[in-house]
Amino acid sequence: MDKTNLSASAALQYRAAPGPPPRLLFIGRMDAHGIGPLWAPVLARAEQLIQAAQVAEAEAPSGAEPLNAGEPPAGGRVLHLDLSAVEYCDGAGAALLHRLMQLAEGRGVTLRLQGMTEGIAGHLRPYREAESVVPARSPQAVPWTQRLRRGVAAVGHEIHVQVAFIGEYSLAVASALWNPRQVRWGDTFRVAEAAGFQALPIVSLIAFLLGVILAFQSAIAMRQFGAEIFVADLVSISLLRELAPLMMAILLAGRTGAAFAAEIGTMKVNEEINALSTMGLDPVRFLVVPKILAGIFVAPLLTLYANLIGLFGAALVMRGFGIPMVTFFNQVSGAVDLSDLGTGLFKAAVFGLLVSSVGCLRGLQTGNGAEAVGRATTSAVVSAIILIVVADGLFAVLFFQLGI
């Protein structure tokens, strides 16, 4: 009988005879499908038979071969595995046989096989070989103090890298602006279009809803004092100085910073960055500077646009509260001046620099493989948001001190 015939389709069955000699008989196909549900019951039954074998001395039937190579012939404890009725055995079947062998060896019982074929032996060989394999790297337990120390050091290193990176890239951008012919303006405008123009729909939606929500929530409270008109002051100052730059920066981080990290990260994985370097092209000038310039240009423009849409949304809400649009915008023009708008746009430009820089940094720090690209992308967004919030706090203090 050809026991490696793949076309056989009988399900696996087993029979156990306590003996003497104790015997385990397999019938049918020893494949993953058949082995799955029988794994635990077969091992449990084999345990019982091994216990029975420990009290029985049996003669090996003719044709039986000792499986445990190198061992002396069975003294008194023998378990017979009969594979004569096995129609097919693959790696899963061999896994079960190997487990039975381990079980028997562990209890000092000799396993004898009947009906062993070259095919089954071929499948069993790697299991036997794997027993003696020494892992190339054994996992070592690291004490928590050491892990804590490494963690703190990693955070310190990370802060150092980010600060150094932003400084380095700010210099690269300043140098590029000093020598505009060095800048790849085509790439810069292409990136700016993707980061700016193509973001207008989502910016419109967010800015409009921001204005609406801000106006509506504050108007409810203000109405109790008959001061609805001051909603225009509140909304305009909040939007121009704080909320529009902040929201646009976060949007830029999620949309554009992530894209920068993924693009450069994939290029790193595909060794395109190495190719640039070996061709004598500076990856920073070639890839990073256009993206950072685009970020710096686009963020204030998006913020300006968000200001307009947000104020329009607020005006619409205030109309519902009986304040005409003309009155609303007159109030706005009295409440804010160019310094409010300017500080907001300046902050947006800095946020744009931070978002695009950290997106490029994370891309260039990408390791190997698809997962590394995912990590880089996530890290780009998280780092950008942290930097934005920290920078915003610093700006608040700075503008207060400067009296702007």
């Binding site: 050809d2 490696t4 015939n5 793949l6 076309s7 494949d31 993953a32 499908h33 082995i35 799955g36 549900p37 794994w39 635990a40 693959d90 790696g91 899963a92 061999a94 896994a95 079960l96 190997h98 487990r99 070259e118 095919g119 032996a121 071929g122 499948h123 060989r125 790697p126 299991y127 070989e129 794997a130 394999v133 020494v134 892992p135 190339a136 790297r137 996992p139 390791g367 190997n368 493989g369 698809a370 997962e371 590394a372």
Partner: protein
Amino acid sequence: MNAAEQKPSPDGTRRPEAVQNGIGPNSSRPNRSGPIIRVQGLTMGFGSMVIMEDLNFTVQSGEIFVILGGSGSGKSTLLKHMIGLYPPMAGQILIEDIDMSRAEGTERETLLKRVGVSYQMGALFGSMTLLENVRLPLEVHTMLPLAAMNAIARAKLQLVGLGAFSDFMPAEISGGMQKRAAIARAMALDPAVLFLDEPSAGLDPITSAELDQLIQRLAASLGMTLVIVTHELESIFAIADRVIMLDKETRSIVAEGDPRQLRDTADHPWVRRFLRRGVIEDQSA
């Protein structure tokens, strides 16, 4: 590679020697039971661009079948059609009499368990260790307990000489090791047919030879059918039972048969030249 790979196959034959003796490399191999793959009237391409037209060939069960052709001739595309990734423009590909491109539901799932694929770049999942990569098909397609799946995965890794690296991430091992790990993953379910896309491309000669031995062992002792896309002539002559050669000019198969015979006696001069590594025959001889 492990020591076992240096040993003769269990049936006592060394296939390269059999070749030297003029005996077909598979002459001693069991389990030949007719065609396992039938490609009938296959036309393949993308959009309106036709790459190959009306291909007809069979792959016998248990043989090592190699797809050859010049760069851009559509070898890998043919392989991807055979494993059902691309739908044919016309014709059909039957694996164990099931049309791969039209199989759905349980039939498709059953068929997917019967084939294993190793891709050009390995395509290991970077977030998993080698053991987890190899275990994945078992988790998806079987109900084996975790201990059994781990034992099988370790054995497969051992089979390709990576038993000691089961806890490594793909990024931590070399490209050659990644390819071998990918073959181990492709073998996890002991498929009837193993498709290998450029298995030895980019490997050093020793690793490449070890891979050839592994392929021979899979066919000889485990009875697998192997369909391989490769350019490595040395490998082809060492392991292939039969080859087909694709020609992008005529968009058809220009040669089919034993590679050693084709090298010497093929009608098509381009085929002879291809199999002689571009050496132009002396016309005056």
